[in-house]
Amino acid sequence: MSEARHPLFMPVIFVGGVVFGLGLGVSHMTHPEVVLDFLQIQDLGLLFVMGAGSLVMGGAIAIMSRTTRLAPLTSDVYGRRVKSLDRNVVVGGSVFGVGWGLSGICPGAAYASVGIGNYPILIAIAGMFLGAYVQGYWRELRSERAVGVASADEG
């Protein structure tokens, strides 16, 4: 896959990331204080961040997913972001919400926050890596146990 990539693939990913990060900077979501003001119902401006962002992306998805055209840099079809709904979506959302409410920072905003010189945010990013590792380790352990139980049942 990587050897067959279009030469513009990485530049487009990079430019998209820069614009995304610039937007996080302009919106001040890079400031945990601003996010906490939103969550404490003191400044509801963040509604417009998610609203405008999802409208733009929603427009792009609505238009392109109705076409039969393929993406120029990958020849992939244009799809929608539809993930299966299970218990994890709600449990994960709850845990994420508690973490977001405690820290005032989410992953994308944390990366952009590094760019504005907010070095203490590295603590949060280290925590995110640790959390991602812990859930991966735990889920793998659980699936191994499930496989063990299943094969014991067969035996």
Partner: protein, 161 residues
């Protein structure tokens, strides 16, 4: 009471910077989508990058290993985007006053929750809501609800900032 003044009270910083920031966030992910068909979220980077350091099979699934390089490029782009903003509009560096323990504990929970819940503020909140996906709408309502509750509780406990 004047309803306009009442509503304006919830927007002490106006809406301009939020609206423009949100539009740019949308244009950023839409650029990647239009060029590649990829719907990029920010939190998958955490797991795909762990595949460089961990042999755990969950992190080494094909869809993670094949996307881990561009996810790093995407993340570096986000950092650079923040830096572009800072150079253009900010006076020197900006440093949060939120207490380190909140960043640390909150960060761990964000790491667990976004990966368990299949996405974060950008993946579910912007791309999933833009896709009118029920899964994403349910996830967003859940995490915003818990976040508001948590922030209000922490504030009521006298922790600031």
């Amino acid at each position: 009471m004047d309803p306009v003044a009442f509503i304006a009270g919830f927007f002490p910083n106006g809406i301009g910077r939020y609206l423009v920031g949100g539009l740019l966030i949308g244009v950023g992910v839409a650029t990647i989508y239009l060029g590649t068909g990829i719907i990029a979220g920010a939190s998958t980077f955490l797991e795909t990058t762990l595949s460089y350091a961990s042999g755990l099979s969950r992190f080494n699934r094909a869809k993670y290993v094949t996307s881990r390089d561009w996810r790093i490029v995407f993340t570096v782009g986000i950092v650079v985007g923040g830096a572009v903003y800072a150079v253009a509009f900010q006076d020197g560096i900006w440093v949060t006053q939120v207490q380190p323990w909140r960043l640390a504990v909150g960060g761990v929970l964000v790491g667990i929750g976004t990966r368990l819940g299949k996405g974060c503020t950008s993946g579910h909140g912007v791309c999933g809501v833009g896709s009118i996906s029920n899964t994403s709408l349910i996830n967003v309502v859940t995490f915003v609800g818990f976040a508001v509750g948590t922030a209000l509780l922490v504030q009521a406990a006298g922790v600031s900032p």
